[in-house]
């Protein structure tokens, strides 16, 4: 759990939200969250693999999600329907995609999974590690970026040895 892993997501979040809504959000205070936490009404979950592994969860209220979907869209969005759900999922995808570019520039090559949208109140999510969380305050409400990432373990190297190498004192006959 390192601050250098959340910074790209915050920077990407500001850039992407500015681009798709026309207004740059303001980042709030960094906090730590345990690996199991209760989500907001709408959560976008994206898996990360490669040099860095774990999950990123974007949390927002239903009202904020509907307003952001409307701001992103060229067609009217009045309720949080499939189209609105797809809009905020794509928002999570774009932010995460840009963040992985920034991570790659810092030497961490990684890939992201397609987003999963979770809707509902008081749902518990369990991530691989505790998360660092930064709220982004937009004109439409708050988006929380929960980053639960760690550096991938180095691959285990396996060496095979012959019985005599394993025990030089053993009689091979």
């Amino acid at each position: 759990m390192r601050a250098e892993f959340i910074n790209p997501f915050v920077a990407a979040g500001i850039q992407v939200l500015d681009s798709v809504t026309g207004a740059a959000p303001q980042p709030g205070q960094l906090a730590v969250r345990s690996a199991t936490f209760t989500t907001q009404q709408v959560s976008i979950v994206i898996g990360v693999t490669g040099s860095v592994v774990g999950q990123v969860v974007y949390g927002l209220s239903l009202v904020t999600a509907t307003k952001i979907a409307a701001a992103m869209s060229s067609i009217p969005v009045m309720t949080f329907d499939d189209f609105a759900s797809s809009s905020v999922a794509e928002l999570g995808n774009m932010i995460s995609g840009h963040a992985t570019t920034l991570l790659a520039d810092a030497g961490y090559d990684c890939q992201i999974t397609p987003p999963t949208i979770i809707r509902g109140a008081n749902i518990e999510i369990c991530t691989a590690t505790p998360a660092l969380v930064v709220p982004l305050h937009t004109d439409f409400g708050k988006i929380e970026i929960n980053v639960a990432l760690k550096e991938a373990a180095a691959p285990i190297q396996v060496h095979t040895v012959s019985p005599s190498e394993a025990d030089p004192a053993a009689d091979p006959a």
Partner: protein
């Protein structure tokens, strides 16, 4: 005007791209939600240009690009994706993509890329 196949798992992106392309004078002849469907639809529809996302379930966009180029080397595919790492861009272009657009995109960039690809 060019006939376009849009490939993206996000309904939002397929709808947005369709509007951008239609407003730009193109004809969207089909849509696909993943790379496997993209390969099937390409063979059915023979579009002039394919707009291809990368991160998709079932089959990703790079794999679909390679499969389409294997079946139809003349196919024109433009990658339209949130991933902008140099390695991924180079991989796509070396695999035969005509162009590469990073989301969120400007409508003018998409139309310009389609015009360039369809006249190449």
């Amino acid at each position: 005007m060019p006939n376009i196949l849009i490939v993206d798992d996000a309904l939002f992106m397929r709808t947005t791209l369709k509007k951008v392309l239609t407003d730009g004078g193109c004809t969207v002849v089909g849509e696909a939600e993943n790379g496997q469907l993209a390969v099937e639809r390409y063979q059915e529809l023979k579009p002039d240009v394919v707009m291809m996302d990368i991160t998709m379930p079932v089959m990703d966009g790079i794999t679909a690009l390679k499969e389409i180029k294997r079946i139809a080397p003349e196919a024109k595919v433009i990658m339209c994706t949130a991933l902008g790492q140099e390695k991924i861009v180079m991989n796509a272009l070396q695999s035969g993509a005509q162009d590469y657009i990073v989301k969120p995109f400007k409508a003018e960039k998409v139309i310009e890329a389609v015009r360039k690809a369809s006249s190449a």
